[in-house]
Amino acid sequence: MWSTRTRNWFLAPTVLTLLVIGIFPLLFALNISLRQYQITNPGLGFGWNNFANYVTVLSDSYFWGSLGRTFFFLALTLPVQFILGLLIALILHRQEWPFLRAVARVALVIPLATTPAVVGLIGRLMFDSDFGLANWIVTLFGAGKISFLGDPNLALFSLAVMDTWQWTPFFALVLLASLTAVPQDAVEAATLETTRRWDLFRYVEWPYLLPGLTAVLILRTADTMKLFDLIFVMTRGGPGTATELISVYTQRIGFRVFDQGVAAAMAILSLIVTIILARWYIRIFYREAE
């Protein structure tokens, strides 16, 4: 029964499908990335161009700018989401108020499931320069109305707020799951040694939090590299290029500037980053699959 042939029949549908929709398009993108390729400008031909697309990308200050903004955005959102998520997890891990805790756990699922494009719509509503709620809060403090999405610095900040609303629950739920996995006898043994909450956290709970935290950090990094929906809806990368993170820039070159060769080169470069992140993630978390 456990013959190799039987096994291959079971694997075939998945392998064939992923070859057609996963590998073939990648090879196609690789091919395009090495050619002059502008479908709106066929007069230029579609010949090989000696890595000119890659040279264009790597010497393009907008590309580096968008990459820099992507990392800046990560530096802005990851620490905040982690700290808020950890605090939420620690509060939810306590014994008090079982009903409120249950409600909070259910509530945390809502931002995670909300369609990212719709999160962008909500962002447009809340940060509107005329009637937005953010402006109401600003005027409560006596300041005048601000064009949040029209100001280069504030636009990126507004995106970070919406991103934080959507993804802090991810940190919270993962860290809560890890806290729940701390063996009760380890906690009891530790409480005999110390009465300080910090010691309990640092020496007993923290080691259990690390794997989950690592998982979330890698996934959030990968997600930010592909962050598109929220930005496209809220700012389209503007004002100017102030909120143009890497995948918004690639999309603009490929589908609005219409230079597919250069866009493919950028896509291949981000693919390399993706593969590194994915390998790293899988190596850490799936030793058992070996």
């Binding site: 029964m1 190799t4 996963g22 499931a113 719509l121 998982a215």
Partner: protein, 281 residues
């Protein structure tokens, strides 16, 4: 939990209420943006645009009526249902058998195959969107729902394979062997014995696939025009020009989000596992 040892009853009391307050704060902040959208969808135009914002208003369903009288909104919702359901169904059909192979057989290179299948989940949509666009254009398959069904398989199949494989590992191997001894083929043993026992995993992965397909924007934006436009694309297409129909936009947003929230609640216990591909249980 350990702070109780030394603290006075009075301090403990205070702490208790503080935790309650923090919990309330978490709930309010987590729900607020979502509820603000729902509220806007029920407001009259004047109330949506009011400044300072209106907190108490008489709700109206006008916005829903207007949104649903637009052909493009209805069509996009129908498209989304078709595309998400079909892609989920196909992913189950294709992926579950690979999950079985990965759970039951061991061979050299299994890890590499596993890595390759799962890594599709990490793929940045922008990497595949471009070649898919050019291929679909050449084949005349732009604005065709099946193109989206196919491209969504790139993230749906890994989800199915991972979750169902994990579930099948919990089904004792003796059961398949007993079925074979009774004269079943390996395929019958898989479909009639193993798969029904792995049903919880199948259901969870199906719901996760549906959520991810339903929420997707970039592929849908690039690969559709009008006929097979999905709901998120339709909602974002409202956002051009001045004088935006905010009420209708928020009504459409609410209608898009509600089904996925219901689904997410159903699998809330597995959501974290699904999002981390099982790294966190």
């Amino acid at each position: 939990m350990s702070q109780g040892v030394r603290s006075t009853p009075r301090r403990k009391h205070l702490w208790h209420w503080l935790v309650g307050l923090l919990l309330l704060g978490i709930i309010v902040l987590t729900l607020f943006p979502f509820l603000w959208m729902v509220a806007a969808s029920l407001k009259s135009r004047a109330d949506v645009l009011a400044f300072p914002p209106v907190w108490v208003f008489s709700p109206t369903l006008d916005n829903y009526q207007k949104a649903l009288s637009r052909v493009d909104v209805i069509r996009s919702l129908v498209n989304s249902i078709f595309i998400a359901t079909t892609s989920t169904g196909l992913a189950l059909l294709i992926g579950t058998s690979a999950a079985y192979a990965l759970a039951r057989w061991d061979w050299r290179g299994k890890r590499d195959l596993w890595f390759w299948i799962i890594s599709n989940r990490f793929m940045s949509p922008i990497v595949l969107a471009l070649p898919f666009f050019l291929m679909a254009r050449a084949l005349g398959a732009l604005d065709n729902p099946w193109t989206l069904v196919a491209i969504y398989l790139t993230f749906n199949i890994p989800i199915v394979v991972w979750i169902v494989m994990d579930q099948i590992r919990n089904v004792p191997r003796d059961l398949d062997e007993a079925a074979i001894v009774d004269g079943a083929t390996p395929f019958q043993a898989f479909f009639r014995v193993v798969l029904p026992l792995a049903l919880p995993g199948v259901v969870v992965s199906a719901i996760l696939c549906f959520i991810f397909s339903w929420n997707e924007l970039l592929y849908a934006l690039v690969l559709t025009r009008s006929a097979s436009r999905t709901a998120p694309v339709a909602a974002t297409s409202f956002m051009s020009g001045y004088d935006l129909p905010w009420g209708e936009i928020m009504a459409t947003g609410t209608m898009i989000v509600l089904p996925v929230i219901v689904f997410a609640m159903l699998v809330s216990r597995h959501l974290v596992r699904g999002l981390t591909l099982g790294a966190v249980k």
